[in-house]
Subunit: 139 residues, 3 copies
């Protein structure tokens, strides 16, 4: 296991813009405040969503799209540098009117409403290709 | 996007009371410590649950009730003032014995056991009616 | 409700080891940094998972095993002492390629990739048998 102790640089509450992209909004917040390492949790609702699932055998992401309004029941993620840009690695649990839950890596989703708590850290984190998983991992 | 930097006023660990209401317990913690702005994550189990789903077209909440014991696999939310009272906006992911997940806005649920981490901020947050979504949003 | 104000002792970002056990990795981080009370959120993927559901009537855990790769869409938990050892109480929401969500108390799961934020507190927390629920609870 790789780990590091971190020092907080700032903490933020944000309300995401209706109609914007969920992940892009979090990355915009990181850009505005120069957050090169951060951790967030969030909740809200989206008008649609593109979830990714990582095929661990084929080492490729598989996409599933949901063209329907969904609650964001849980969202956990972090901000790090990926090829020089700030990338918000975002996982989410969504739900339908019946209460049925859908979940995965949230690549995109149109914000209906979104509330985010972001904690920024002093030392930048950078993602690099990991040979074992073929994912871009930090530390 | 609207956002603000926040200063921490205190942080708390709480164990919710068996038989009490999940959301009311979090609001009681906020009341006891005068938390007018806060962020929490939680886990545990409930004896039943009322989940809400926001109908984005009709702009109305739809309720689904589950009269059965469920794990609280994830709970994310925040505390703000709503018409002068402290309101805990609470989203949760619940699960059945089969592992099946249910999720949404948790309006109510009888606590079986609950563990909460609440982070309180200095500047109060107030929810106000948003014209676009017809929701009570902060910032 | 029982609760306490807590003081932070340190905060950590960790990348879990591919092939190791998810919960054991978090407990190892706690052991290395002498964390006797902590709170974490996490995300990633596992190669398999054993979820527990607490049967509130029989007061026994029921286990369900999933022998398949799953995203860890959300993970919330805490660290406390249980009979002298550090125990990571871990709830998680997992997902399949279709986006279907599974959730519960994560007893075990083989890490494919895992990213964890752990917040450590000054005062140790100890779990003790609770007569009402027959669970090991803190505070």
């Amino acid at each position: 296991m790789n780990y590091r102790e971190v020092e907080v640089a700032g903490e933020y509450l944000a309300r995401l813009e209706t109609g914007a992209d969920w992940r892009a909004e979090i990355e915009e917040l990181a850009d505005r405040e120069d957050v090169d390492a951060g951790w967030f949790t969030a909740l809200g609702a989206v008008e649609d969503a593109e979830l990714w699932y990582y095929d661990q055998d084929e080492q490729e992401y598989r996409s599933v799209e949901f063209e329907e309004p969904l609650e964001v029941a849980s969202c956990v993620g972090n901000v790090a540098l990926l090829e020089g840009d700030r990338f918000a690695h975002t996982h989410a649990v969504l739900s339908r009117r019946s209460g049925q839950a859908l979940a995965g890596h949230l690549n995109a989703g149109t914000v209906f409403s979104g509330e985010v708590y972001l904690r920024a850290f002093e030392t930048p984190m950078e993602r690099e290709r990991d040979d074992v998983t073929d994912l871009d991992l930090w530390l």
